[in-house]
């Protein structure tokens, strides 16, 4: 019999019951909750007269709707406000821990989980949000669920599920100078496509993944969902342990020792069988930019906008044409000559301290181009913001002409006041370039923080190293 993959082990450890009907009952260790996908679940629980199974497993935070302007302590939009208040009331009613709007720990749910040590290796972690895959960077089985499932976890601490297939993506070799975790994951999505991971749990491995910081690993796992897989994961190692140690929710003392010893087993066995294995040479990865309206529509910085007439699949060809029309781009245009209107540095993909350092390094001593209408830096949490300020990064950004904001999802999905106007073009460190994602008619190009900062300075895409 062959060995087990990391995913197999996580699955087995959380298996409560295999039902004869073919489904499995899986235990959930951690449930993260935000204001947008939870109200109907709380209501459902309430109406059915049901209780939380285990409130201590749950942590809630408002992030999607919150304003990020530094001077607004209140939410002006009444509809957003009601949603945030509803989360407040629900948490109070059911006794759920919440990092509310005025809590310094407030931030994007996928940033604060790891930051607080709420996310630990070996856990099952769910949230009514597809980017829950982020937490897999710690060797956890973490995935997004719908609101009905949120209610199911609240009431039972379990999910009815079916095991996924195993895929491993190994990035071997070494990255070139200036190539980041964001470029790595965009290359993966470009290669396997946005549906390439459907039905799989993906383990990321190889020397490049090992060399990434925890922040970088989170960026990679974060966008697993853009490759079609609900869960992405990386085996925990010394870096993982070093990151977690001493965080508020992390185990302490003897418990810590026991936990660390247990985490050593969270690794795919040498003889584990994967249903699909992909190997990518890290040395060949160049800085990436998306040109279209799906994260798989991605090219190297020094490439041009692709030509649909070269595509043989008629459905793909039509999709490309539609994307070009929406994006207002002509085939053959070099990416570096595409002019930009806005720059957004933030989101659960790239708003951690390391991302801000990477962008600040590029922005330092330079000025945002007068062609750029607005350049936003939105830290992922109150604590990231504080740390950045301690390091003086906010000064670098403000001096260069960026706006330094309060934490939240912000222009990643434009549920608050930060959004694109029709036809405005934005270099964004977020994860989705769908039509209308950052505002109706808005045009999004996904890039790394360094590339976004360089684009803000130059007014168009350019190699950060060449500034």
């Amino acid at each position: 019999m062959s060995g087990k993959t990391l995913y197999d082990k996580l699955w087995d450890q959380h298996l409560v019951h295999d039902d004869p009907n073919g489904t499995s009952l899986i235990y959930i260790d951690r449930h993260l909750v935000h204001e947008v996908t939870s109200p109907q679940a709380f209501e459902g629980l309430h109406l059915a007269g049901r209780q939380f199974w285990r409130t201590e497993s749950t942590v809630a935070v408002p992030d999607h709707n919150v304003p990020t302007t530094v001077d607004s302590a209140t939410v002006d939009d009444p509809v957003s406000r009601l949603q945030i208040q509803t989360l407040d009331q629900n948490c109070n009613h059911f006794g759920v821990t919440q990092f509310g709007m005025s809590d310094p720990r407030q931030g994007i749910v996928h940033v604060i989980g790891p930051e607080q040590g709420i996310t630990l290796p070996g856990m099952t972690i769910v949230c009514g949000d597809s980017h829950t895959s982020t937490h897999g960077a710690f060797g956890a089985l973490a995935f997004g669920i719908g609101t009905s499932e949120v209610e199911h976890v609240m009431a039972t601490q379990c999910l009815i599920s079916r095991k996924s297939r195993n895929m491993r993506i190994r990035i071997e070799g070494e990255l070139s100078q200036g190539v980041t975790a964001k470029d790595v994951v965009l290359v993966i999505i470009g290669k396997i496509g946005t549906a390439g991971g459907t039905g799989y749990a993906i383990e990321f491995a190889g020397s490049v993944i090992e060399s990434l910081s925890m922040e970088g690993r989170m960026t990679v796992c974060n966008m697993t969902i853009e490759a079609g897989a609900r869960a992405g994961m990386i085996r925990p190692d010394q870096k993982t342990i070093g990151y977690i140690e001493g965080r508020p929710y992390a185990p302490k003392g003897e418990m810590w020792e026991r936990a660390v010893a247990g985490w050593a087993e969270l690794v795919s066995d040498d003889d584990a069988a994967f249903d699909e294995e992909i190997v990518i040479n890290g040395a060949e990865i160049r800085p990436q930019i998306t040109w279209g309206t799906s994260p798989e529509m991605v090219v190297d910085l020094d490439e041009a906008v692709p030509d649909p007439s070269q595509e043989t699949d008629p459905i793909k060809q039509e999709g490309m044409q539609r994307a070009l029309e929406y994006m207002g781009l002509e085939p053959g245009t070099p990416m570096t000559s595409v002019p930009l209107d806005l720059v957004f540095i933030g989101s659960c993909t790239n708003s951690r301290i390391e991302d801000l350092r990477e962008a600040a390094l590029v922005a330092k001593g330079r000025k945002v181009s007068p062609d750029i209408k607005q350049a936003l830096v939105v830290p992922g949490s109150g604590l990231v913001k504080r740390q950045a300020e301690e390091e003086g990064l906010h000064r670098v950004f403000i001096d260069a002409g960026f706006e330094w904001r309060n934490p939240g999802c912000s222009m990643c999905l434009a549920m608050n006041a930060d959004r694109l106007k029709p036809k405005e073009r934005c270099a964004s460190t977020s994860n989705r370039n769908f039509e209308g994602r950052q505002g109706q008619g808005g045009r999004t190009h996904l890039v790394s923080p360094a590339m976004a900062a360089a684009a803000a300075i130059a007014g168009h895409f350019t190699d950060p190293a060449g500034l």
Binding site: E56, I145, Q157
Partner: protein, 213 residues
């Protein structure tokens, strides 16, 4: 949850791949704290020519005449015919809520995104995966015949093309099939296993106590 057994309806073709949940229901409507009322904003950015907001009256907004939802021949459609990777992107259950609220009970595509697929079953919508060839033939049928309709028989796992009574068989997970036919309450079913969950918890608390603090 609404049950699904036999459904007959007009087919609406949405001929594009990778339709994401942002397109199905744009984010500004996610501010609602209810499960209903999303129908008028289904595919909002494609369907209207202006920008939709949560508390606006949609009946007076300018429609995009080119978008298939606004074409009178599909007015009463309740079966959505789509392309690959339908429902990709965010986990928002507002997407199936909007589809259901509009009147769709069944979606046919060559492939679906995982979370969306799952969410459909929780809301009485039947998502059916057919091979690309069968999907192509349905698109051709819709194109040819105004009022093109199907009968979807879930217990028999059979689709009948009403214009010529040809049939297409489809596969479905047995558990999900039963859940839809009977309108099962997932939570109730799981709570019936409460003892198993408690036993599991007890063992895990001993083995990995740090997961329970």
């Amino acid at each position: 949850m609404e049950k699904f057994n036999l459904h007959e309806g007009i087919v609406l073709p949405l001929d594009r791949a990778n339709v994401d949940t942002d397109a199905i229901i744009p984010k500004q409507f996610l501010k609602s704290i209810k499960r209903t009322g999303f129908g008028p904003n289904l595919f909002d950015e494609w369907r209207y020519l202006d920008q939709g907001e949560p508390d606006r009256d949609n009946s007076s907004r300018p429609l995009n005449p080119d978008f298939v939802l606004n074409q009178s021949r599909y007015e009463d459609a309740s079966i959505l015919l789509a392309r690959d990777n339908f429902g990709c992107g965010s986990s928002r259950e507002h997407a199936p809520w909007a589809l259901l609220d509009y009147g769709f009970r069944c979606i046919i595509a060559p492939s679906f995104a995982d979370i969306f697929f799952n969410n459909c079953f929780k809301n009485g919508i039947l998502p059916i995966v057919l091979d690309a060839e069968a999907v192509d033939s349905l698109f051709a049928g819709v194109d040819r015949t105004p009022g093109f309709s199907l009968r979807v028989d879930l217990p028999k796992q059979m689709i009948t093309v009403l214009e010529n009574m040809s049939v297409i068989a489809f596969d479905i997970d047995g558990f999900q099939k039963d859940a839809l036919i009977q309108g099962l309450d997932d939570i109730g079913m799981t709570l019936a296993k409460a003892d198993l969950i408690r036993n599991y918890e007890e063992a895990r608390r001993k083995e990995t106590p740090w997961l329970f603090s």
